[in-house]
């Protein structure tokens, strides 16, 4: 599903590489935690997969596409196969919950009929039925993140990327989000999640990929956050 072959990313000529010949393969249906301290390259890893950045070395394959050779006008097609969730939710503040989720379908040209049938279904999956008409600021952080996940997943992409989705949430709320991601993973979706949250990683016991200074230092099934705990 996702394969990096010696992928390297140098942002500024001469700077230390943000990602340093990382090779890793993620299969369809995997649930993978991406851990590492601040600046270790987690977000860069995810950006390469989304083709927000291009590798300066090595190859990246996602959903059967060789991203190094993907032309700019085909990028939107790639993005439709990937859902993305971020720490800061990124909801449109002047649109309701329903409109925020529907927006993702509108802009890729889905019919109104399709939207009207899919969105409520998705809101039910993430547990927000009955709150369709709320505005983002009328929701708790956990609820806002559920809306963001609904928007990322409403198109049923085979891949879901999450960059510290629980970073702004308290431990109780974070657990709820992890349960939701686990449920989505069980439908066969590949989930790749960058996180700092050691408790969650230790509790879920999924595959863990650890980066340090841009290099892959650990790839462990049913792993924990850090080998040496602080």
């Amino acid at each position: 599903m996702i394969r990096l072959d010696n992928a390297t990313k140098v942002y500024k000529r001469g700077a230390r590489p943000a990602l340093d010949s990382v090779s890793v393969e993620i299969e369809r249906g995997d649930f993978v935690f991406l851990v590492g301290s601040s600046g270790s390259g987690k977000s860069t890893f995810l950006k390469l997969i989304l083709r927000e950045e291009r590798p300066t070395g090595g190859d990246v394959y996602v959903a059967g596409r060789h991203l190094n050779k993907l032309s700019a006008w085909r990028v939107p097609h790639l993005r439709r196969e990937i859902g993305a969730v971020f720490q800061d939710f990124r909801l449109l503040p002047n649109k309701t919950v329903y409109q925020n989720v529907a927006f993702a379908l509108q802009v890729i040209g889905k019919s109104r009929h399709h939207i009207q049938s899919t969105v409520p279904e998705m809101l039910e999956l993430v547990g927000l039925s009955g709150k369709e008409r709320r505005m983002p600021h009328e929701l708790s952080g956990g609820e806002q993140q559920r809306v963001a996940i609904a928007r990322a997943f409403v198109n049923h992409p085979p891949i879901l990327l999450c960059d510290e989705p629980t970073g702004n949430l308290d431990p109780g709320t974070s657990v709820g989000i992890m349960r939701l991601l686990d449920r989505i993973n069980r439908t066969g979706t590949t989930v790749l999640m960058a996180t700092h949250d050691d408790e969650i990683v230790d509790q879920m016991r999924k595959r863990v990929i650890e980066l340090r200074g841009g290099q892959l230092v650990r790839d462990q099934d049913r792993g924990v956050y850090g080998l040496e705990r602080v």
Binding site: W73, V75, P76, R79, E81, A84, R90, V107, K110, R151
Partner: protein, 303 residues
Amino acid sequence: MRLRFILGEVVNGLRRNGTMALSVVLVTFVSLMFVGAAALTQMQIDQLKDDWYGKVEISIFLCPENSRNERCAEGAVTPEQEDAIRGVLEDGALAGLVQEVYYESREQAYDKFVANDDEGIWSSLTADQMQPSFRVKLSDPEQYQVVADATEGLPGVDVVRDQREIFSELFRFLNAATVVAAALAAVMLLAAMLLITTTIRLSALSRRKETQIMRMVGSSRSLIQMPFMLEGAVAATGGALLAVAGLFFGVRYLIEDWLRSSVTWVQYIGTQEVWSVAPWLLVIAVGLAAIASLVTLGRYTRA
């Protein structure tokens, strides 16, 4: 669905950057007014040239009696001299340049003069005191100097006059007006382009969140960029329409209503000339917006 979405975004963007969009409209308005005014002035000049140069004649005044002019020291023109002059004009070297020669006798000149003197100030003038003249119509009015040179020295000729001289000063003034209008138009068009660029940038900045989300969910690049381009185009077109309206009413009231009734001896341009300029102004407005979009969008809404 998509069309509604794009139009909604355009309306949204224009409302959100209202003052900015309004500035674009105003500045495009004024700049295209100048472009239009320069074009119309040139059209007016062309029209005047066609009109006047076609009408004007060269007047070859012949010697009267007792003239103070040295050339006429030998007394009034004789019929032989008149024939010789007519010969030069109708045959000889000038034949190709001259379209028509018309002889105005003393009596004819006197009748014309009296007809123009409404108040009778010159009542005591007699036909004898008028000068006979040849009125020459040229086939190419620009060749005035050749004809003047060839006839000026002939015996019996007092002075040669070309009505065109009266107008050349006016044309110089109108040409200067065109240059000033064009210069102002250039400055303002530059300002308009900078403004459209900034509007698009501002719009892109204020909707960073939307475009970021659109990119993330895989919306096509054209759908992302379309609203911004349309916004610039709509504002610029608004300015162009205002400019056309401004020119229309300007020509209507200043030229058709006022000048045409107060200075009647001139053939003026009218509102139909405004209509012939209008499409060009729209083209310039849309072109401006397109260039500004190309310059800006690549950087601010990458896919």
